[in-house]
């Protein structure tokens, strides 16, 4: 129920921010040496001279019927522009989340099982490095090595999954891998800490005393119970990855929502900025809702209100 006020606040803030920030789309279209007269004519033609209360009323009236408005520069509805790019951003974010979750939790379990040994130190060292490197720098380095020097992957671009699944993978591996590395380190550290706590519990000791094979104890008893904090982090990480996708889309020339919003900010395409921010906030709220539902599935105590 708290989602609605959050989205209302976001819509209001996104409107306010774009109208407070100086500059407008007319200056982008007219160019640096346009005269004040030329700019005024263009602003009038684009409807930018309307008072802000009229613009706010128009924004909420359209939102009430599900219309995010019309992009000034794209000759396209904002909703359609976002929907066209959403698969790129969501596939990048969720591929990165999948890579980070699978590799990060595997590294975390390995480190916990081999706690204090060389493998633990190696895994945690790698996690720390991955967590510390900036995405844009790492992206360019991986691009230079894997695309330019080794010619294994393309430097950028995108093909929809529906059109060519292998092509989609070819274009997405490098950006999703780059985006995943920082969050992989976070998952590895969280999984290790949670696993170490769970491995000391009585039920794990009992399972071992009953003679269960080690992998069953770890996989079935310890790992599932260590997943709760990892799922919490996954919820937060998906938001972080969604934000990180903005940078990665720029570096790898992916036509996603992040690039759409950045371009709109640079060119002051107000309806796209407002619609894009509102949609991003909506996705974040929905992901957090999904995480809450996942808790209940993983831990029955939460489902029965005894958490």
């Amino acid at each position: 129920m708290s989602a609605l006020p959050v989205l209302l606040l976001v819509s209001l803030m996104s409107f306010a921010i774009v109208w407070i920030v100086p500059g407008d789309v007319a200056s982008e279209m007219a160019g640096p040496t346009a005269t004040a007269e030329e700019l005024a004519q263009l602003r009038d033609r684009l409807g930018l001279n309307k008072p802000w209360p009229d613009q706010l009323l128009g924004w909420y009236s359209a939102l009430a019927v599900g219309d995010l408005g019309q992009s000034i520069l794209l000759r396209q509805g904002v909703g359609a522009a976002i929907l066209e790019r959403l698969p790129v951003t969501l596939s990048l974010t969720f591929l990165a989340l999948a890579i980070a979750l699978v590799l990060g939790t595997a590294l975390g379990v390995l480190a916990a099982v081999r706690a204090g040994q060389g493998a633990d130190r190696l895994a945690m060292g790698a996690a720390l490095i991955g967590f510390s490197l900036p995405d844009f720098w790492l992206g360019l380095v991986l691009m230079y090595v894997l695309a330019v020097q080794l010619a294994w992957l393309p430097t950028g671009g995108f093909v929809p999954f529906s059109q060519d699944p292998l092509g989609w993978l070819r274009f997405m591996v490098l950006p999703a891998g780059t985006l995943a590395l920082s969050q992989m380190g976070l998952f590895a550290r969280m999984t290790r800490a949670a696993m170490l706590e769970v491995l000391c519990q009585d039920y794990v000791r009992t399972a071992r005393a009953k003679g269960m094979p080690g992998w069953v104890v770890i996989g079935k008893h310890a790992f599932r119970n260590a997943l709760i904090p990892v799922v919490t982090v996954a919820g937060i990480a998906s938001g972080v990855l969604l934000g990180g996708a903005v940078v990665i889309e720029q570096v790898f020339s992916l036509p996603g929502v992040g690039r759409l919003i950045i371009g709109a900010i640079q060119r002051r395409d107000y309806p796209v900025i407002q619609g894009g921010l509102l949609l991003t906030a909506t996705i974040f709220v929905l992901v957090n809702l999904a995480v809450d539902l996942l808790y209940a599935w993983l831990d029955p105590r939460i489902r029965h209100g005894r958490g």
Partner: protein, 514 residues
């Protein structure tokens, strides 16, 4: 009638990665050429926008009655020529044979409708203000009648700044950004995928201008050899360079100077240097004290080490020239003001500050981080001015914010701006920037106003040239603005791109893939 026809990727995954890679783009004649540029066009309506990102695309789709040759002079393109009456009031254009991408032959009705549309929505609509009427006595003749002589008219309609593109009459009847991209150019529009690319394909029925032997600026004989062109929007400079090295891109609109230096020895690539491309300036706000005091402005003019500013802001690709027009062009104003250029005399600057009775008022230097040259120019100039005791505050914003700020009479004193297309166009855009109702310096200067009047009404070229000399002298004598120097650019191609000639935009007609 006077004839002037000559106006002219993870460990497990590594195993499968090589299998995911695609070989470099096919190297064959015809074929598909990929050009990469940083920005995407704000619109594909060629007439409306002055953005370089749009020009790179639209000048492959559209043509103009007159266009600029290799040296930047106006020459016939869709027109065979123009007869200008001795009183300068009548321009009679004879049109050459041309065909639109929709199959329809171009007629004078299309040209008339396009010119009239430009007056309504054009990025430089002011060039149509002196036009009284346009007649079309036959399908191949357009007669433009002026209210008053306007010697800059041909320069205006031939400028690529916001091209006065000729389109079918029915498209010309549409509002700004509402028209379909249909022109007479050597390539026709296929698709625009925002944030990704624009796709063009060779126009099979393109009518070449047989009055020329080869390509000549934006005019000349345009031969579309390559079958398909993809113009990709790649925001990150490092990614564009990587794409060129990997063979995924054939032409880069521009490459960073340090990257060009690093790749110069790579036999698979070619670096094409252009000098001049633009010039770097520091615009001054004369409405904001103490900038209203000429002695204070002269102190800035005397204090700055312009060569240091140019060396830092251009990564070394610059030329120290004082002219507000490029050397070698028709309106280059010789040595006018040269002795006041790059003075770099701190003692003289301090004396001028004393004369100006400067009391340490804060001077705001406005720049933007969207363009590296602007940012570096402001940061370097700020350090130099602090060195002579000026109280400087640096305000670096993004481009739209800086641009919006500069239109205000307060809040800034000095603004960094690189002028590219304007000096290429000739004197009209440059002089016009400092004159009229809203000059960039915010305070009208009567001498510059007079220069502008003489430039735009003088029927003899000598009169117009003298107006530009007087303009340049005034710019230096009164320190209206500071020209720092000429800036170069490096365009880059794969070695298999044949017959590529660097120019204001990467021209993809006339080239072929080897």
């Amino acid at each position: 009638m006077l004839t002037r026809r000559d106006l002219g990727l993870a460990a497990g995954g590594l195993v499968v990665l090589p299998g995911l890679a695609r070989p470099a783009l096919a190297q064959r004649a015809g074929g598909n050429l990929v050009m990469a540029q940083q920005a995407q066009p704000p619109t594909l309506d060629a007439q409306v926008t002055t953005a370089q990102a749009a020009r790179n695309i639209s000048l492959h789709l559209y043509e103009t009655l007159y266009a600029r040759d290799e040296a930047g002079n106006p020459v016939p393109d869709l027109a065979e020529g123009v007869d200008i009456s001795p009183d300068g009031l009548t321009y009679r254009f004879a049109l050459r044979e041309a065909r639109f991408h929709n199959g329809k032959p171009m007629t004078s009705a299309d040209a008339k409708a396009s010119l009239l549309r430009y007056g309504r929505v054009g990025g430089s609509a002011f060039i149509m203000q002196p036009v009284d009427a346009i007649d079309t006595p036959d399908a191949r003749t357009v007669v433009v009648r002026m209210k008053a002589p306007s010697p800059g008219f041909i320069a205006g309609i031939s400028s690529p700044r916001a091209p006065c593109a000729i389109m079918p009459e029915e498209e010309a009847g549409k509002d700004a950004n509402k028209n379909e991209a249909i022109g007479t150019g050597p390539y026709r529009f296929v698709e625009y995928r925002p944030d990704s690319h624009v796709q063009l394909t060779r126009f099979g029925d393109y009518v070449q201008n047989r009055a020329y032997q080869g390509m000549d600026g934006f005019a000349g004989r345009k031969v579309p050899n390559v079958e398909n062109i993809t113009i990709r929007f790649v925001a990150e400079g490092g990614a564009r360079t990587a794409g060129l090295q990997a063979g995924e891109m054939h032409i880069l609109e521009a490459i960073a100077v340090p990257a060009a230096e690093r790749l110069r020895s790579d036999a698979s690539l070619k670096m094409h240097e252009m000098m001049p491309w633009s010039f770097q300036t520091l615009m001054l706000n004369l409405a904001q004290p103490p900038m209203d005091n000429p002695a204070f402005r002269r102190a800035l003019q005397a204090a700055l080490d312009l060569e240091e500013i140019m060396a830092i802001s251009t990564d070394g690709l610059y030329r120290m020239t004082h002219g507000w027009q490029h050397p070698g062009t028709t309106y280059f104003a010789g040595d006018a003001g040269k002795q006041m250029y790059n003075i770099n005399n701190k003692d003289r600057a301090k004396a001028l500050l004393k004369e100006a009775n400067y009391k340490g008022e804060e001077i705001v230097l406005l720049g933007d981080s969207s363009f590296k040259n602007h940012n570096d120019t402001i940061v370097t100039a700020a350090e130099q001015l602090r060195g002579i005791g000026i109280n400087v505050r640096v305000n670096i914003t993004d481009w739209p914010t800086a641009f919006s700020q500069r239109t205000q009479r307060s809040g800034w004193h000095v603004w960094a701006l690189m002028l590219g297309i304007e000096p290429y166009e000739g004197p009209y855009g440059v002089v016009g920037f400092f004159s009229g109702h809203a000059p960039v310096q915010h305070v009208r200067d009567e001498v510059i106003e007079d220069c502008q009047r003489r430039l735009t009404t003088g029927l003899k070229e000598e009169e117009r040239k003298q107006a530009v000399v007087d303009f340049q002298k005034r710019m230096y004598d009164e320190a209206i603005a500071i020209k720092c120097g000429d800036v170069g650019i490096v365009q880059a191609t794969r070695a298999q791109v044949r017959d590529y000639k660097p120019y204001r935009i990467p021209r993809m007609w006339g080239v072929s893939l080897g």
